[in-house]
Symmetry: C2
Subunit: 215 residues, 2 copies
């Protein structure tokens, strides 16, 4: 037995890819997968796959590969997917509504249990099966639905206030789509996804290759 002493962040970020790859292999009925097969399906290289999996402990068989069921179980466990983690979506603009209704969340074990918005017309109603509450109710919502993760889809100007409210309510994990820097305590895990930033990074490369088309 080799316990997962400490798993590097970069590895953690790839574990979901491996899990997806394993799901794709599963229907084939094969009992084992090689690191190369996993690598192809997850878009990384085989050496990296092996090193990543070695951090979970040693689950492969030399000359054979990894047992599919067992590996799936171990990765799921490392990711905490034995539990389901209820999510509250904060802000029901275009993006917020799409997220509240996003089937991929529930499928991955993160059901959207509640939403919060400032619009009086929405408060008290149900949107796509998700009950909508006022911001002031956030604390009790977190308790009642055992919210583990807050998703911030509010405008940039409101985002820090929402983050503060989530933190006060005891939420330790936040995923933000607001195009602004959020400040949270050290013990709160924050992941920021900024769509405009992503496009600007693509823009950099577009611009670069246009420049190099000269000379």
């Amino acid at each position: 037995m080799a316990g997962p002493g400490h798993i590097p962040e970069a590895t953690v970020a790839r574990l979901p890819l491996y899990l997806r790859a394993l799901d794709e292999v599963a229907p084939s009925g094969q009992a084992t997968v090689s690191s190369e097969e996993l690598a192809d399906l997850s878009g990384v290289n085989a050496a990296k796959v092996r090193k990543d999996l070695s951090y979970l402990g040693t689950y492969g068989t030399r000359g054979v590969g990894y047992e599919l069921d067992y590996l799936t179980f171990e990765i799921s466990r490392a990711l905490g997917l034995a539990n389901t983690w209820p999510v509250v979506v904060c802000g029901l603009g275009n993006l917020g509504r799409a997220l509240a209704n996003h089937t991929g969340f529930t499928e991955a074990g993160f059901p959207v249990a509640a939403a919060v918005d400032t619009d009086p017309d929405k408060i008290g109603t149900t949107i796509d099966g998700v009950p909508v509450f006022a911001p002031a109710e956030l604390g009790s919502v977190v308790d009642e639905f055992a919210i583990a993760i807050g998703v911030i889809a509010a405008p940039a100007t409101a985002a820090q206030g929402v983050a503060d409210a989530l933190v006060s309510a005891g939420v330790k994990s936040i995923m933000s789509f607001a195009p602004t820097v959020l400040v949270v305590p050290d013990d709160v895990e924050l992941r920021a996804v900024d769509l405009a930033t992503e496009l600007q990074i693509l823009g950099f490369h577009l611009h670069r290759s246009n420049e190099n088309t000269g000379t």
Copy 2:
């Protein structure tokens, strides 16, 4: 003069943050910003800011800071924001519609010029001012609207086909929200944003801290 010999990827990914920080400082009317101020506003540390900016060439004044207007201009230029890059959104499910209507894209210089969907009821209509075309029309859409970036919001099963079509049409930058690995030629820049994966990464840390709450 020190030309931007080669800018590391990690730096490129932070340039949009600095730009946003500069926008926040602008209303104050101050003429210069220090690396520390920029650092606070963009959530990184000051040494990193200085090193990053040094890759663009040297624009700061010792003892004073960076001239706000000039720095804004230089970062914008490095990111290619002098141009606007029209975007096509492929797939008008929940997420696709939200993206097509996302004001942040246009504001950042990436107008959504067109959308593509398989639904005959949507083809030929206009959704939030964005004309919708059939997948088969993608080639001509890319030409007509001078599309620079393809955003894939189609289901996982359709995503690779959409990517192939975009590549055939000559698109060199793709942003994908589909929860699957996409294969594209080396000269095509691909950024994948997987929402379920992001939540799973948060789940890992939730799980970890729960474990450590014992003993």
